[in-house]
Symmetry: C2
Subunit: 186 residues, 2 copies
């Protein structure tokens, strides 16, 4: 869970990054900025700030804002009842993002999992994306990603997004974010 | 048709617009910059400059660069043999773009068709997109669009793109661009 205060601060911080890099969002989009802590209550280390531009039955586009070193935890998009899982292309717009997926493990990966979550990071084939570079992740492929030291903005182009179907390696993860009043947590 | 010189100049001009607005493309993408004159040999008025980021069986993302007043001619994406036509979302990133589609004609539209092509522009319901604004075009919907006075950058998020299936109102149009040596045209 995150507090209302953390939520508001994250939106403000992410909005500033978008603005500084010339990516314009509407006031309505800012209203619906998604802040995902994946239920771990440690947004600075495990989390994503997401603007969903469009998500129809057929396709989806998002902007992901990542704070420095922030990690999207390991997961995959399953094929269910012969319906292919989500296919997604990550395109780095600003900063650096490191993707990890199945394949030959990189001998000296640039990233480390968030402290305390090490057992839930199992794939180590590293793909580094600088601005303008992209990578397409196919359904049923385990992956996670982490922003570099500056943070990152990543455009995601995909088939329909159904977050509730995502399967995470870490059983503690809850995909939906719970926001509590700021006083409640103290 | 366009000459190699026109093609190279268009790429250079479009690349500068992308660079000025902070949108990074790779050298390989610049190599494959698509310049479409739609067979009318009048690129400044009828044309598009296109970077295809990704186009799989399931989804597609492009960046469209439009010069001031440049027009993408009227067309639609047909449903064929019960396979739904292309669905596309246009998101203005920079400049202004005016979309025209079926519906209540706008009483004083901001745009005019390219001179000599007036008969082939038949839908006049105007949607103006400023940076951060977007509109989703459904299959089988006739539409055309024109950049404002500054030009525009438009992100297109869509289902698979199959340009060869597009149906244009203007029978003169050829979707594939023919590039001839610069000397040949003079």
């Amino acid at each position: 869970m995150i507090t209302r205060e953390t939520y508001e601060q994250a939106i403000q911080r992410a909005s500033k990054v978008l603005e500084a890099t010339g990516i314009t969002i509407t006031p309505a989009e800012r209203e619906h900025f998604e802040v995902a802590d994946f239920g771990l209550s440690d947004l600075d280390h495990t989390g994503l700030e997401i603007i969903v531009y469009i998500n129809t039955e057929r396709c989806c586009a998002k902007e992901l804002v990542m704070f420095p070193g922030q990690t999207c935890p390991e997961h995959y998009h399953p094929t269910i009842d012969k319906v292919p899982g989500k296919e997604e292309t990550f395109r780095c717009r600003w900063g650096t993002v490191y993707l990890y997926t199945a394949g030959e493990p990189s001998p000296s990966p640039a990233c480390r999992p968030p402290v305390g979550s090490e057992p839930y990071y199992t794939v180590w084939h590293e793909i580094r994306l600088n601005p303008g570079e992209q990578y397409t992740m196919h359904p049923d492929t385990v992956h996670w990603f982490q922003a570099g030291a500056e943070g990152a903005i990543v455009s995601e182009f995909s088939t329909r997004s159904r977050d509730e179907l995502d399967r995470f390696t870490d059983p503690r993860i809850q995909r939906e974010t719970t926001i509590v009043p700021s006083a409640q947590k103290s």
